[in-house]
């Protein structure tokens, strides 16, 4: 019972990347969160199989790792899109019309906040204040900021990115 899940699944993901990370950090005490962050950097999210492997190597229970992964909002358990579209809904952005922008973005991409498009290109996220109130309302795509957005800009931002992918 309580078998190591990682060994029972058909391995679709390349656990070699996790192995490499573990090689470097597994002996360091207190390195769980940095390891999980690096795993997420590699895969774009923390795959279940990788989490089980980390548990096995660090000698802690997968349930404890899952606790950490679900405690912090920085960790993601499902694959995310190539472009993470963060719509700021902090106070300033809210006042300047962020809810409408989020609605438009959701409608354009046909996903809800927190979801990823079927082609794995876009993930829409609703975030609280990102600290750029003077630029409100703001959408951050990966590391690019789009300031003072109005609803009609949304289609252009999306189309530009789609064109880049085509």
């Amino acid at each position: 019972m309580c078998a190591n899940k990682a060994t029972t699944l058909e391995n679709e993901i390349d656990l070699g990347k996790t192995e490499k990370i573990l090689e470097k950090y597994q002996t360091i005490k207190g390195a769980l969160i940095p390891i999980l962050q690096k795993v997420q950097d590699e895969y774009g999210y923390v795959p279940e199989e990788a989490a089980y492997l980390v548990a096995d190597r660090l000698g802690i229970y997968p349930s404890q790792i899952f606790g950490v992964l679900t405690f912090y909002t920085q960790f993601h358990l499902k694959p995310r899109g190539k472009y993470i579209m963060k719509v700021c809904c902090g106070t300033a952005c809210h006042v300047k019309g962020a809810p409408g922008i989020l609605d438009r973005l959701q409608a354009t991409l046909n996903v809800q906040a927190g979801e990823t498009t079927a082609d794995n290109i876009f993930t829409v996220e609703r975030v609280n204040c990102i600290g750029a109130c003077s630029l409100a309302p703001i959408i951050v795509v990966n590391k690019d900021a789009h300031a003072k957005v109005v609803s009609d800009d949304v289609a252009n931002i999306v189309n530009d990115l789609k064109a880049r992918e085509a």
């Binding site: 019972m1 309580c2 078998a3 899940k5 060994t7 029972t8 279940e48 989490a51 089980y52 802690i60 229970y61 997968p62 349930s63 404890q64 790792i65 899952f66 606790g67 679900t70 405690f71 358990l77």
Partner: protein, 867 residues
């Protein structure tokens, strides 16, 4: 020691003790909620707040704050009361206070605190969680609405059971107790999370309803395996029902440990399949009759067969599941009332060396108590899947390794769970244990890993031993066992340098007559490494059932009278004849056990008390044939077992909950189990049945009272002379099968022949054993255990499955030996060695013993996919 003052009472406590410890010592009550004596303190609930005079002005959680010398603590003040009350209100933020419909009502810690602090409800208004109780799990119901996130379930799972199946998921108001990645709960189903939950958030889906105030608890002994755990049972007296079971902190040899059978196995007591009346066969059916008719049928037929064929045509089979007293009376019945010497039990029939031959086999070694596992440096686990066979003993091993820094060497032909925490795993080929151990001895002797003088002082015939293992060079042993020579050397080094090694020996070695030499070799190793009777290490033999040891102690064996006194010795017989007032027959000279004799036509009647040979006898075809040949079979049991379906008369006995008696566990510890309820329906206590049958046959068995039977045992058997269940003297203590204290031992000389290569067309080696959740016929009558382990399977290595035209988990395969065939779903074990298959022996609809022959529970098989 430090001095602390609690509410004006000065106490002395150990350095490092908490304020809560000191308060307990001072007799001052501090309410607690998340605290549990069994677990590391966490200080989460803040109910146990206290003030420290002259300290910082804030309040301290007494369960996690260490006491300091001259500390003055106040546990009662307005400030404290207010803070505690607020914290309870915070616990109640989401809690529905649905006490009237909650199964925990009356034994709920939150309810107690709410009542104690006089709260109506919480000042903090939050919407109640309105989640449906989660019943996706076959066994455990989770009700998050009632959960107050104290985390005790998670902590027992991590700290005591060592499984870590559940954890806290998410945070804040959204937090809940869950499994990693929302997977199905994958655990041992030990029930610790349920029995520990202080509120009604985790419940058994099978537990019978019972209000705490209608329930009394009875401490007794578990009726399943040979570990002999103490369990506290919940009993609803008025309805005559056993409703719950759990281990209790500090009670019994198991302390905090419990397993799935201990927790929910007891359900068989109230199974709807229990026999309510005696049954008599007419034609193909068994029909209910009165006790009078049944007893008449039994005595009439036994008398007739004795008249026609003599008493030796009647045989008796005792039980590894029944008490010492019942087994004692049973052999007395067969020997004196019937007058036959043919009485035996399955364990002894499988392997005489650990049955009636135990004292001789131990040869001076004393069985070590399980508690010694906590003190040894090294544990050598041979031929035992402890986690599955004796789960609590397995957990003690795990605790010794993970918490107390003992090293573990696992020698097993399968990949067992304890292998994961072992410092070394010796994965040998099936049946080569003796060669492996001889190889280790060879290494120790040739490399002088145990200094010469020490070895000579421990072993009388050292040179003889040296010569006998001289051929077992590492290379040779590697060829035979498949264990790398370097690994053998490493094991030898570990064993030689350890000061105190516990050697645990399981069914692959002791349950298998074909492997008797392995036990002999192991004994040599034990003595050579100085673990004989030094007290630092020692030998432990796993026992399958609650009284596997006791049934042999009681002389339910052809050649030994109670207490291993030879029935061949006229002086011994004379002593028993005098006490029993009847002649005691001398053991016959027939070859083969009673099953063989039945096949030879020598047994006309068989009285089976609480045993199921059809499932348990190693050779399944043979036992079925034998039972078919016997004219008259009496079965005394709770259910129509596979064996009882062959019976002419079935007499309904009672479960361990409906009587008292003693079981002797794997350590030789004689423990009393207590009556919890009165016998159900028309079932009779087994001692009564034996006395009634004897009476019908015109004899008197003296007493049907368990305490009196034990007095008779103590009087006749020096082994049990110190024990009295009437006064409680000696109960819970161990009996010793060896004179002991002999520092020097004689090595037995072990001859070893490598197991012959199986025929080419049967490429797999099949082995068997018990599953964690099942043991004997009774566990299959527990709904809860069937829910978590409902059917048989054949376990194969991943590689073998791929090679067998890509068999996948769950595919049906045919397992065929030269003797029989079984169709089963396949299951894989990723770390299983290639070429080894395993089928559990627990399922009556897939009797693995039909594949075996002779006295060995190992055979060669071929496996192929069916359709």
């Amino acid at each position: 020691m430090i001095k602390v003052t609690i509410d004006g009472i000065q106490v002395e406590v150990e350095n490092g003790a908490t304020i809560l410890d000191a308060a307990k010592k001072a007799g001052v009550y501090i309410p607690t909620f998340c605290h549990d004596d069994r677990l590391a303190p966490t200080g989460a609930c803040r109910i146990c707040l206290v003030e420290i005079e002259g300290g910082p002005p804030r309040l301290f959680a007494s369960c996690v704050t260490p006491a300091a010398d001259k500390m003055v603590v106040k546990t009662k003040s307005e400030k404290i009361a207010k803070a505690r009350k607020t914290n309870i209100e915070l616990l109640l933020v989401h809690h529905p206070l649905d006490c009237p419909v909650c199964p925990a009502a009356g034994q709920c810690h939150l309810q107690d605190l709410t009542y104690e602090f006089g709260l109506q409800t919480s000042r903090f208004k939050m919407p109640r969680k309105e989640k449906e109780a989660d019943i996706s799990n076959p066994c455990i119901e989770q009700n998050d609405n009632r959960c107050v996130l104290c985390g005790k379930c998670i902590r027992v799972c991590n700290e005591i059971q060592g499984v870590g199946a559940i954890g806290l998921v998410k945070r804040g108001f959204n937090a809940y107790v869950g499994t990693p990645f929302q997977n199905e709960l994958n655990c041992d189903f030990c029930g610790h999370c349920v029995t520990t939950c202080p509120v009604g958030a985790r419940n058994s889906r099978f537990i019978m309803k019972g209000r705490a105030w209608n329930v009394k608890t009875v401490n007794s002994i578990c009726s399943f395996c040979g570990t002999g755990c103490s369990i506290s049972y919940d009993v609803r007296e008025r309805e005559n029902l056993v409703t719950g079971a759990k281990a209790v902190h500090g009670l019994g040899i198991n302390g905090n440990f419990q397993c799935s059978k201990g927790w929910q196995g007891f359900q068989y007591i109230h199974s709807k399949d229990r026999l309510s009346k005696p049954l008599i066969r007419s034609g193909k059916t068994l029909s209910p009759v009165s006790w009078d008719d049944a007893l008449e049928e039994v005595s009439k037929n036994l008398k007739r067969i004795i008249d026609e064929h003599g008493p030796q045509a009647v045989a008796g089979m005792g039980s590894e599941r029944m008490s010492n007293e019942e087994n004692y009376l049973f052999q007395k019945f067969i020997r004196t009332v019937v007058g036959s010497a043919k009485v035996d039990n399955i364990l002894n029939m499988k392997n005489r060396a650990v049955g009636e031959g135990l004292p001789e086999t131990l040869g001076g070694l004393v069985l070590a108590p399980l508690e010694r596992l906590d003190k040894v440096q090294l544990i050598f686990l041979a031929g035992a899947d402890a986690t599955e066979e004796s789960p609590v003993a397995g957990n003690m091993i795990r605790r010794a390794v993970t918490k107390l820094n003992a090293k573990l060497i696992v020698a097993n032909s399968r990949n067992i769970r304890l292998g994961r925490i072992a410092s070394q795993s010796l994965a040998h080929r099936v049946g080569t244990e003796a060669a492996l151990v001889n190889g280790i001895i060879h290494e120790i002797l040739t490399r002088n890993l145990v200094p010469r003088e020490a070895a000579a002082s421990r072993i009388e015939n050292l040179e003889e031993l040296r010569n006998s293992v001289s051929t077992f060079t590492p290379d040779y042993v590697e060829r035979i066992t498949g264990v790398a020579a370097a690994e053998i050397s490493r094991a030898a080094e570990g064993l030689a340098s350890s000061e105190g090694t516990a050697f645990l020996c399981g069914r692959d070695i002791i349950g298998n007559a074909g492997n008797a030499t392995a036990l002999e070799a192991l004994k040599n190793l034990i003595i050579l490494t100085g673990n004989g009777n030094s007290g630092k290490g020692g030998i432990m033999l796993f026992r399958e059932f609650s009284n596997s040891q006791g049934v042999n102690d009681m002389g339910v064996t052809p050649n030994m009278l109670p207490g291993y006194q030879s029935a061949k010795d006229p002086k011994v017989r004379e002593k028993f004849e005098k006490a029993w007032g009847k002649p005691v027959p001398e053991p016959g000279k027939e070859t083969g056990d009673i099953i063989q004799q039945a096949i030879d036509g020598k047994i006309k009647a068989l009285y089976i008390m609480g045993e199921d040979p059809v499932m348990r006898y190693p050779d399944g075809q043979k036992v079925r044939e034998a039972l078919g040949k016997i004219e008259f079979i009496i079965c005394q049991d709770l259910f129509i077992t596979e064996t009882a379906s062959y019976a002419n008369v079935v007499l309904p006995g009672v479960s361990f909950a409906e009587k008292t008696g003693t079981f002797t566990n794997m350590e030789g510890r004689v423990q009393r189990f207590a009556q919890q309820i009165s016998p159900l329906d028309e079932a009779l206590p087994d001692l009564n049945i034996l006395c009634k049958v004897a009476e019908r046959m015109g004899a008197k068995l003296k007493s049907n009272i368990s305490e009196e039977a034990m007095a008779e045992i103590a009087q006749l058997s020096p082994l049990y002379s110190g024990i009295s269940t009437a006064t409680g003297k000696g109960c819970g203590g161990t009996v010793s099968y060896s004179p002991g204290a002999d520092s020097k031992g004689k090595a037995g000389i072990v001859s070893f022949s490598a197991p012959s290569e199986g025929p080419k067309d049967f490429p797999f080696t099949l082995v068997t054993g018990n599953l964690l959740h099942h043991l004997g016929p009774y566990s299959r009558k527990s709904e809860a255990l069937n829910a978590v382990a409902g059917g048989s399977f054949v376990e194969l290595s991943l590689k073998d499955m791929k090679e067998l035209d890509g068999i996948k988990e769950g595919d049906m395969v045919l397992v065929e030996s030269p003797h029989g065939r079984l169709s089963l779903p396949a299951k894989f074990n990723s770390k299983s060695p290639q070429g080894v298959a395993f089928i559990p022996n627990n399922f009556e609809n897939a009797p693995v013993n039909i594949l075996f022959s002779g006295n060995s529970e190992v055979t060669q098989v071929r496996i192929y996919r069916t359709a």
